[in-house]
């Protein structure tokens, strides 16, 4: 199998677009006031883009995602390293964290709103919670997957515990950490919408709820498509970083 043109990834969206257009615009199988045509959504999108509204919502949402993701990931990095390295810390902290992990995201919302008000802090906190767990869980299992034989090489060369961690354990856990970061970033977008749907005056989630209130499915679809594209772009950036940082791995890359 030679190298495939990455543009093949656009084939499915294109087919989807044609089907959508056929169903709504040609065959009229769905009521247009509930399911707008691609042309309608395109025009609405263009309009929102030109008057700057879309851009404003994107900046707000993107800012929240990045802030929440950064906070959640950094805390996960610290806690995950401690829990992964030290069994007593694991005994102490892991049951509590696992219990918190099982709280559905929306359950946090009322509490966070009551506690932190309706401004940025509750939203960023919620996103941080969402990003935290995948990073934490993956890092802990990554550390635990470190080849004991490599750690032994560190012992042989008399490495101090701190050097052992950053020269052997963390590099060995890097593939897991990066997988965790990618999932965490996805979760951050998920929790962003959860936060913005409930209490906000700006952002893509607000766009959705506002469109619901004014019965504008075309605006909703603009928001949804924007979320899909932004999420994909963010993941793509991390994927690039991953590919570069993990160029040493000797694993099956698929056929």
């Amino acid at each position: 199998m030679g190298r495939l043109n990455p543009l093949v990834g656009l084939i499915l969206p294109a087919i989807f677009l044609v089907l959508w257009w056929y169903i709504t615009d040609i065959a009229h199988l769905l009521p247009v006031n509930q399911f707008p045509t691609p042309g309608r959504v395109w025009n609405t999108g263009l309009q929102l883009f030109n008057n700057g509204e879309l851009f404003r919502h994107i900046t707000v949402s993107l800012g929240r995602v990045l802030a929440g993701f950064a906070i959640g990931a950094v805390i996960a990095l610290l806690l995950g390293t401690l829990v992964g390295l030290f069994r007593p810390v694991e005994r102490l902290a892991d049951p509590f964290l696992q219990a918190l992990r099982n709280v559905p995201s929306l359950a946090w919302v009322p509490f966070l709103l009551l506690w932190m008000g309706i401004d940025e802090p509750p939203k960023i906190t919620l996103i941080a919670i969402g990003a935290f767990f995948p990073v934490y869980l993956n890092l802990v299992s990554g550390i635990r997957q470190t080849d004991r034989k490599l750690v032994e090489v560190g012992y042989i060369f008399g490495l101090k515990p701190f050097a052992l961690i950053y020269r052997i354990v963390l590099p060995a856990a890097l593939p897991y950490l990066l997988a965790g970061l990618r999932i965490g970033l996805g979760q951050a977008w998920l929790f962003l919408v959860a936060a913005e749907l409930i209490a906000s005056t700006r952002g893509l989630g607000f766009m959705l709820i506002d469109a619901e209130n004014s019965s504008r499915p075309d605006i909703m679809l603009v928001a949804i498509i924007t979320l899909a594209v932004l999420g994909k772009l963010c993941d793509w950036l991390l994927q690039l970083a991953e590919r570069w940082l993990l160029r040493w791995t000797d694993t099956f890359k698929g056929r």
Binding site: V153, I156, F157, G158, P171, L174, W248
Partner: protein, 241 residues
């Protein structure tokens, strides 16, 4: 004057079964010693004790008269598998072994070691791009980078094909000639033991002690088909059967 490496009255057991009982061995500076014995007799365990990776239950291992209680720079260990860090290229894997004192002249030292194991052109390769023999050469250079007085080799060539193994045996002799480490080699290859070492130590059945020591008083480089080597080979086989 005492020996460079002394193993004195060492006993060790693993989950109830005793592996060594009162094992004694003295190794002089610059000597090459091979440890042979039946599979599972604890040859590798003995190396781990000398390296300070596992504790002894009785007795003492001393290097330069200082007891070994934990891994330290004076003893280097090369494993059966290369155990290279897959995220570091050849050069950085070798540099990993450098003692802090040599960090300042890092580039020169590493270049010298790569030259020694004939890997200068492969400095930038990643472990996944190396053949088994190349990887073991990197591991050897990394072990040397720590300037160990005692170099322990745990069946380092057992996974390699016969030709590569012979080339690496000669490389070990070259390294020994250039750096003069004291070497303790665990092997199951009798020819290898006789070709390389000054003395071949046969470990007995569990709980093992030294069963026999065969001296190889032949100058190096040796001819692998030397009549005397073949004679000693017969003697060794008799000890092991």
């Amino acid at each position: 004057m005492s020996s460079l490496l002394t193993i004195e009255g060492v006993s060790k057991s693993f989950s109830g079964s005793q592996i060594f009982n009162d094992l004694n061995l003295a190794v002089e500076a610059g000597e090459i010693i091979s440890l042979v014995g039946k599979s599972g007799c604890g040859k590798s365990t003995l190396l781990r004790l000398v390296a300070g990776l596992d504790p002894v239950h009785a007795g003492q291992v001393r290097v330069n008269d200082l007891p070994i209680t934990a891994p330290g720079r004076q003893v280097g260990l090369m494993f059966q598998e290369p155990r290279l860090f897959p995220w570091l290229n050849v050069r950085d894997n070798v540099a990993f072994g450098l003692s802090p004192a040599r960090k300042s002249s890092k580039d020169n030292v590493v270049a010298g070691l790569l030259e020694e194991v004939d890997l200068t052109d492969s400095a930038k390769l990643l472990p996944r791009q190396l053949s088994g023999g190349m990887a073991q050469r990197v591991a050897l250079a990394r072990a040397l980078a720590g300037e160990p007085e005692v170099l322990l080799l745990d069946e380092p060539f057992s996974a390699l094909d016969a030709f590569t193994r012979m080339r690496l045996q000669d490389l070990v002799l070259k390294v020994w000639h250039d750096y003069r480490p004291t070497m303790l080699l665990v092997t199951h290859d009798i020819e290898e033991a006789l070709y390389l070492s000054d003395r071949v130590v046969v470990l007995g059945e569990k709980p093992a002690g030294v069963q026999e020591i065969i001296e190889v008083k032949l100058p190096r480089p040796r001819n692998r088909n030397d009549v005397q080597l073949l004679e000693l080979r017969g003697q060794l086989l008799a000890e092991l059967s």
